[in-house]
């Protein structure tokens, strides 16, 4: 038996006609023939009712709401399917430049340098916004208030104790212990850190000069935690710790977070409303590459930022482009109304109008 078996194996590897002969000898071929027929048939029917797939990649922060949008939109237009990979803003920018995706997504606007690398004009479509909140671990979790001076002082490592006069002056009622402040920041590159450092750079010349704005920076002090959960974990575990996390994460995990004094001198509680208020008063240029930290207005929460979809103004594939524009219009109207339920801040009405007008300018 053994030599014959070897021969058969070799035949399969060398000659297709012999394979057919071999199969004819066995009963197997009937079965496989039917199976093949089935594959061909199903393949044909699949191409007949071809579903269009639009691919996107990028930011992780808006992933929950984007996937909700794609789910809901599948009911509105079943002929198109969205596939979104939340690989991070850096990856989203790189892939839209390389044209390996139909749209990108980023938590920060693209730099001029990166825009110049793209083969065509890339439009920034703001979708929703979020905020960073200051969270802390103190005995009794008192409600605290911070201003620009206190936050920069702590994160530059100049305010070292909780009972520092700069913190005490803002929180007259709270009992602040004589305890070391342990600063916790994000260790992974993130849009959250971008918003945080963008805010600090705006309110403090020293921060701007020493540290600057980026998705990850050279921190003057503190411990690094990976992700919102890493920062939250370290803050919860370390007495006297202070850190920043996304508002959504803080709400969903019931963490204490502070009110922050805005540029109008008012203490504002971070919320979906105070973020949208900040977006309404922020200076927004025609290309929608804006920063909304430290926005003016009584109701604006100062540490907030938007997230963007990135699409080419000139679409290569007309059919796909048309579907993408239809989706964007839906997202900016119906989609925006779903944002609040997921704790994302929707765009204010006038900004929506401006963005919709820009979406209309996408060419096929």
């Amino acid at each position: 038996m053994r030599p014959r078996h070897t021969n058969v194996t070799v035949n399969i590897l060398t000659s297709r006609t012999r394979v057919r002969q071999f199969r004819r000898m066995t009963k197997l071929h009937k079965l496989s023939g039917r199976f093949l027929g089935l594959i061909i048939a199903s393949g044909l029917s699949a191409t007949a009712s071809a579903q269009m797939t639009i691919n996107g990649a990028g930011a992780t922060f808006p992933y929950p709401i984007y996937s909700k949008w794609f789910d809901e939109y599948a009911k509105v237009d079943p002929s198109v399917r969205f596939n979104y990979q939340s690989i991070g803003s850096g990856g989203g920018q790189k892939q839209i430049i390389a044209q390996t995706v139909d749209f990108g997504a980023s938590d920060g606007p693209m730099s001029d340098e990166n825009l110049a690398k793209a083969p065509g004009k890339i439009l920034h479509i703001p979708t929703v916004a979020g905020a960073d909140v200051v969270t802390y671990n103190l005995p009794g979790s008192p409600a605290l208030k911070f201003d620009a001076d206190a936050i920069t002082g702590i994160f530059l490592g100049q305010i070292k104790k909780w009972n520092d006069p700069k913190i005490a002056a803002l929180n007259a009622g709270a009992s602040l212990p004589d305890q070391e402040i342990v600063v916790v920041h994000r260790s992974d590159g993130s849009g959250t850190t971008y918003i945080w450092t963008d805010y600090l750079s705006k309110i403090s010349a020293e921060w701007k000069q020493k540290v600057g704005t980026n998705t990850s920076v050279n921190w003057p002090t503190g411990l690094g935690g990976k992700g919102n959960e890493g920062v939250a974990g370290q803050v919860k575990q370390t007495p006297g710790a202070i850190g920043y996390v996304e508002l959504i994460y803080a709400i969903q995990n019931k963490m204490p977070y502070a009110d922050v004094k805005n540029s109008a001198g008012k203490f504002v509680k971070p919320s979906v409303e105070s973020i949208t208020a900040a977006m309404a008063t922020a200076q927004i240029p025609e290309d929608f590459r804006f920063s909304m930290t430290n926005a003016p207005g009584n109701d604006s929460y100062p540490i907030a930022g938007a997230t963007w979809l990135l699409v080419y103004e000139q679409q290569k594939d007309a059919a796909k482009g048309k579907k993408l524009v239809e989706f964007l219009k839906w997202a900016l109207t119906k989609g925006e109304d779903m944002a609040k339920n997921l704790d994302y801040a929707p765009l204010p009405a006038d900004l929506r109008e401006r963005v919709l007008k820009r979406v209309d300018e996408i060419k096929m």
Partner: protein, 328 residues
């Protein structure tokens, strides 16, 4: 680990001789197929190295040797020095080995030499289960269970006793180089234990019987007849563990504190090469920054290869009197 392959070839030949009729084609296909697979693995190593070097060419040109010699990591100013990461990887791996090696080898000795038969299998299964825990789960356990415990009990104790040395001084946050080393130790324990156990099991019983016949005690038998006989193999097991320790990422990132600095104190937070890549790669947008992260990968690749080469060299110089048979 050097594994003696010499006797295999004649054995294969004789099997071929016994086979009839000798068409030979099947064997040729088989030979070329396995050769291709073996070459593919070699090619993969070179491709990874080449790709890493290519991906970091701009950073290598722009930053040059400073990359390996400076310790500021500032992506905003694009001042990128990898020294703290190299230091962190080396120190955390060293701590892990210091903790894991005695533990694993002692466990392996107990399991092969001393433990009653009924207890061996359950312990072996448990150790293998430890290897199956995903890294990120260990990391979460690290944050929520290990770190608070370390911060409240062993660390203050260490500080009280060894606080006069620079290694155990300074404030205790919990997240630290030492915590990183401990979590790596937990992760490399299973592999060192399993490999050591296999090696000790392969020590011929004649060795032990000869030692007993000379009137040796159990400890002496283990030390002279077993451990010294299996020395090379155990060293190989440790090197396998080191290889894993250098590359551990997720769990380490979650407990080491992720601060690029070089501090003598093991209570201070640190950072490793693998961690900084995992942390910063997804959101790096500028060219030099991204390429510097590639270069970190290249450095880690180089360190791993260097560690393996050194191990090979050590093995060669180590006790040439011992026959390599012990390693099998």
């Amino acid at each position: 680990m050097p594994i003696a392959v010499a006797p295999e070839r004649p054995a294969v030949r004789s099997t071929i001789d016994r086979m009839a009729p000798p068409s030979g084609l099947g064997d040729k296909v088989f030979k070329w197929f396995t050769l291709a697979m073996a070459l593919a693995v070699v090619a993969l190593v070179f491709l990874v190295g080449w790709q890493l070097a290519r991906g970091s060419s701009l950073a290598i040109q722009r930053i040059g040797f400073h990359f390996l010699a400076t310790s500021t990591w500032d992506p905003v100013a694009e001042q990128l020095g990898a020294l703290p990461f190299i230091y962190g990887t080396a120190v955390s791996s060293l701590i892990a080995l210091i903790i894991a090696v005695p533990l694993s080898i002692a466990t392996a000795v107990y399991l092969t030499e001393l433990a009653p038969l009924w207890i061996r299998q359950p312990i072996v299964s448990l150790i293998e289960m430890l290897a199956a825990i995903p890294s990120v789960i260990l990391g979460l356990w690290g944050i929520f269970v290990m770190i608070p415990w370390l911060r409240d009990h062993p660390f203050p104790f260490l500080k009280k006793i060894f606080g006069w040395t620079p290694f155990f001084s300074g404030p205790i946050y919990g997240v630290s180089m030492l915590a990183g080393g401990i979590i790596i130790a937990v992760m490399i324990l299973p592999i060192i234990t399993s490999v050591s156990r296999e090696i000790l099991r392969s020590v011929p019983n004649l060795q032990r019987e000869a030692a007993y016949a000379l009137g040796a005690t159990r400890w002496e038998v283990t030390r002279i007849a077993v451990l010294s006989y299996a020395k090379k193999g155990l060293f190989g097991a440790v090197i396998l563990g080191l290889g894993r320790a250098l590359g551990e990422t997720m769990a380490v990132t979650m407990v080491i504190g992720n601060t690029p600095q070089i501090r003598a104190s093991l209570f201070a937070p640190g950072y490793t090469l693998a961690s900084v890549i995992a942390n910063e790669f997804t959101e790096a947008t500028t060219d030099v920054y991204l390429q510097a992260l590639f270069e970190i990968g290249l450095v880690l690749f180089g360190i791993t290869i260097l560690a393996n080469l050194l191990a090979q060299l050590l093995l060669k110089t180590m006790g040439s009197t011992i026959k390599s048979g012990a390693v099998q």
